[in-house]
């Protein structure tokens, strides 16, 4: 396996509109090893589209183009739909924002997790069941036998997200894309879920792309941070160096968040004209 898990060069996601094509991701480039990369930005920054384009899950009529989009030396843009299906879930997985919507309401939790495994490995029923129970146990769910028989509406948001993680990690992928994995959860549960992802990623030696709007949150759970605005990467830095960020957009975002011991009478707001003009 090469050193680089993912290589992205000049990635573009384009949507046709009646006023011509619009790029929502405007030619971004980055590399990823077996490390934790955060992509941060506000709504419309293109961060989620970047995540989905790696799995080639942009719905038509959207288009993905790049001079290079390689995962483990496999050219993703060159793969047939069938070859992509063999990669999705098995080698690259994705956790989405809200388990209330991202789990199928009419299938049991056990069925949905088992399906993720059975799609990629031909295993006897008993073994699938054992792996599902073991995986639920790994995401720290008590009484996994009972939970496997429940439907998604019967569990809390935090538990739903741990189930989602179990489902996405059971085929043992190499890369996990977590798209706002905690923004639908209560604050006290957010840390639990992030700790869980972090632990499993490190333990299994995977790569992680965590997509979020919350700069402070990702600083703790990533090695490197890409800050995106309007389809472009405006800043790239080590997570530990986020406080010394250079770009006015990154600085503005950091300053705009209120603090517990807030003393400012007014919060600084972004003056978008500073860099939009360039």
């Amino acid at each position: 396996m090469s050193e680089k898990l993912l290589e992205v060069q000049d990635l573009r996601v384009t949507f046709p509109t009646h006023r011509g094509d619009i790029d929502v991701v405007k030619g971004i480039s980055f590399d990823l090893g077996r490390e934790r990369l955060a992509i941060v930005g506000e709504s419309g920054s293109g961060k989620s589209m970047t995540g989905r384009s790696i799995l080639r899950l942009i719905r038509s009529p959207g288009r993905v183009t790049a001079t290079k989009l390689k995962f483990d030396n496999i050219d993703l843009l060159d793969q047939s739909e069938k070859q992509m299906r063999a990669l999705r879930g098995a080698r690259i997985s994705m956790v989405m924002q809200d388990p209330k919507y991202s789990l199928n309401p009419v299938l049991t939790i056990g069925e949905q997790i088992g399906e993720a495994l059975r799609t990629h490995q031909n295993l006897p029923r008993k073994q699938v069941h054992d792996r599902v129970i073991d995986m639920l146990d790994q995401v720290r769910i008590n009484d996994p036998d009972r939970v496997a028989k429940l439907y998604p509406h019967e569990v809390s948001g935090g538990m739903g997200q741990r189930i989602m993680i179990a489902m996405m990690l059971i085929p043992e992928p190499d890369l996990l894309i977590a798209d706002e994995p905690t923004s639908a959860l209560d604050v006290s549960v957010q840390a639990q879920v992030l700790d869980l992802i972090d632990g499993l990623i490190q333990q299994k030696g995977m790569g992680l792309i965590i997509i979020s709007h919350d700069l402070n949150l990702v600083a703790n759970y990533a090695d490197r941070v890409l800050v995106m605005n309007a389809g472009e990467i405006v800043e790239e830095c080590d997570a530990s160096a986020l406080k010394d960020a250079q770009h006015p957009y990154t600085k503005g975002l950091l300053a705009a968040v209120p603090r517990i011991d807030e003393t400012r009478e007014e919060l600084p707001t972004l003056d978008r004209s500073q860099w939009d003009a360039t």
Partner: protein
């Protein structure tokens, strides 16, 4: 669960009782009797007939007698056809009505849903446009117009199918098509929009991210969710196929229950009107119960038993 069904069936009995009572007293509130007609009967004969059928008893005695009959599943004698009981009229027409109704329902489900899926999967392509155009026509034109025009073209002009009767399978084609046309179009439209909505949900993206085959995504994740609203309307669809059959049976001269019902009204055949009304009401309630059970099987979020807590 059992308690829920016991309760539901209890409610059905109460509803049925109310319908019986209401139809009975409404029937008797109409001026004139079953034997008043254009040809004036001799007063003595009318008197004798009234006595024979117990029409001279006080209303509440008649009512109690009627109820007693219903408990023993006897809907009473027909006032118009001497010696024939309403039970016989219904049993006589039932095979025809049930057969056309069932075939129509089958058409609605077995054609309407796949057409909707076809349209949804090819959104904004020619397949979608074609299905939606047909469906719009089907919803817009009333079934009796379709029936009459089809009868004229296929039976009279082209001689492909018989103009009336059900002597062989070809006789069913036009009545079933006319009966199911509207609801087939309706269900096709509903299936399309329901499936499109489901395919836009996050859990479909999840299924794709898991690397599932498109067919598995469509059937296991898509359709099972998309069917929920379709099943909900199937109850009313059955009801409307029934009422639709009154008209269709007239046009195609089919010997079904609907024809008896229409005739019984112009004949003032009280017991037949009441009998068929009650029969249909009971049938509908059973259908709605079945739909609710299906609904619960499809959607684990619905726990019928919980609603009564």
């Amino acid at each position: 669960m059992l308690a829920y069904f016991a309760k539901r069936i209890g409610m059905m009995v109460v509803t049925l009782f109310l319908i019986i009572t209401l139809t009975f007293f409404l029937m008797h509130a109409i001026p004139g009797g079953p034997f008043t007609s254009e040809k004036m009967l001799a007063p003595e004969i009318e008197e004798a007939l009234n006595a024979k059928y117990g029409l001279n008893d006080p209303l509440w005695v008649q009512y109690l007698n009627y109820l007693k009959g219903i408990i023993t599943l006897d809907l009473g004698p027909s006032f118009k056809y001497p010696g024939i009981r309403v039970n016989d009229l219904i049993l006589d027409g039932l095979p025809v009505t049930a057969k056309t109704g069932f075939l129509a329902l089958l058409c609605v489900a077995a054609l309407g849903i796949p057409l909707g899926i076809l349209a949804a999967l090819n959104q904004n392509k020619w397949q979608d446009t074609a299905v939606m155009m047909l469906a719009t026509v089907g919803v817009a034109i009333p079934s009796y117009v379709v029936a009459t025009v089809a009868l004229y073209i296929f039976a009279l002009q082209l001689n492909l199918v018989p103009t009336f009767g059900l002597d062989d399978w070809r006789g069913y084609i036009l009545p079933v098509a006319a009966l199911s046309g509207f609801w087939l179009s309706f269900i096709a439209r509903l299936s399309r929009s329901s499936l499109l909505e489901v395919l836009g949900q996050d859990y479909i993206v999840t299924a794709k991210a898991k690397g599932l085959h498109p067919l598995s995504i469509l059937f296991k994740h898509g359709l099972r969710n998309a069917l929920i609203p379709i099943v909900t309307v199937l109850g009313p669809v059955v009801a409307n196929l029934l009422t639709g059959s009154f008209v269709i049976e007239q046009i195609f001269a089919l010997p079904g229950i609907g024809r008896h019902f229409v005739l019984s009204i112009s004949n003032r055949d009280y017991t037949t009107i009441m009998g068929i009304t009650i029969f249909y009401a009971a049938f509908l309630m059973v259908m709605i119960l079945i739909v609710d059970i299906l609904y619960m099987l499809l959607d684990p979020r619905i726990k019928l038993a919980d609603r009564n807590k």
